[in-house]
Amino acid sequence: MKSVADILKEIRPEFDFTPNNDFIADGMLDSFDVVTLVAALDKSFGVSIDGVDIVPENFRSLQTIEALLRKYGVRP
């Protein structure tokens, strides 16, 4: 199974998604990248992330994305 970091790298290969970045504030993910990421996470982990959870705060870092997945019972 792909890791969250692998999925992020597929979407924006030009960036290094290290734990120290704020992916949204630093311009590494725009709103359409977030949509692409959600679709990839849904598919890879067999979940459907609720629309109300698709807000920038949940996609700022690896930690916040992984915390979101844990809410859906996924252990990333």
């Binding site: 949509v35 692409t36 459907s48 109300v52």
Partner: protein, 355 residues
Amino acid sequence: MNFTFRRKRVSGILAVVPANERSFLEEMRNFNFPEARSLKLKEVMGYDRHRLVEPGVCVSDLATFGMDYLFKNGLLHRDEIDALILVTQSPDHFMPPTSNVIQGRLGLKRDMFCMDINQGCAGFVIGLIQAFLLLEQESIRKVVLINADVLSRRTSPKDRNSYPLVGDAASIAVVERDAEDSVIHANLKMDGARNEVLMIPAGGFRLPSTPQTAVLEDVGDNNLRAKDHLRMDGSAVFNFVQVDVPPLIESLLAFAGVSMDSVNYFLCHQPNRFMIQKLADKMKVPYAKMPSNVVEHFGNSSGVTIPVAIAFNLADQLRQCHLQVCLVGFGVGLTWSSMLMRLGQLSFCEMVDYH
């Protein structure tokens, strides 16, 4: 706000789409994005093809084309139309009302009611509510509801947030009294505090169009757009739909005393496939009961996506039998509205190309 209408029905639906079809793959190079990213987006959002009017084509052109088609084929007669409602955000002129322009071009009788409604993606449901209200009058027996928009003409071709999904179209729904004791339930909410989420900033009296408002500006995410163009806060719209629309539908079904399972189709406005599928997931509605294929074939034509979805997906069924459908519109205003009705035995339900 809840509504109940008795002995009213939709008796026919025609969708009119421009013959001019453009593909996302052709237009991709207009956007300042790597091809790989655009292709991923294509897959997720359902971008593929969309129908756009040629330069100079206006709402009244699409509308009169569709009406002439109905007249020529004996599906509607001029003299029986007592009211014409046009729902559009892209009128031919600020004044006169485009509904009057259509009335004049078609040579309809003078003893009738014409009105324009400035509404967008909730416009089909809003228009039906208005049509049903008019039918309460003894003098009004048949209402033509036209939804039409040519918003591609006010969308920046270099705005990847909006241009790939926009589509132009018109629809004509004939609304009349029902001989059967039918009941239609609807509800409606509006929130003008969020009016700037979807707007065309320039071109009205608040900010008239000038050479400056036509200048393309970098609005972030590598998108270029002018103040004369449609502006959409995609994240805010998405959040609005996911938070506000499900309770609207649940409230309507409770009001009508109908279970989710007994609805054959949830026919939602279609901004993009991703948003509709997320809505379906949230409401636990199978994708087959909530079609999301309009944007990939025709584009998002604002208030016309619901009738386009009906004509594209359900025409054969609706000419022969009845279906319990829940119509759901949401968008500019902000406005969100839903309607539960038994739809079917239509005298016509089809789609034609505008040339």
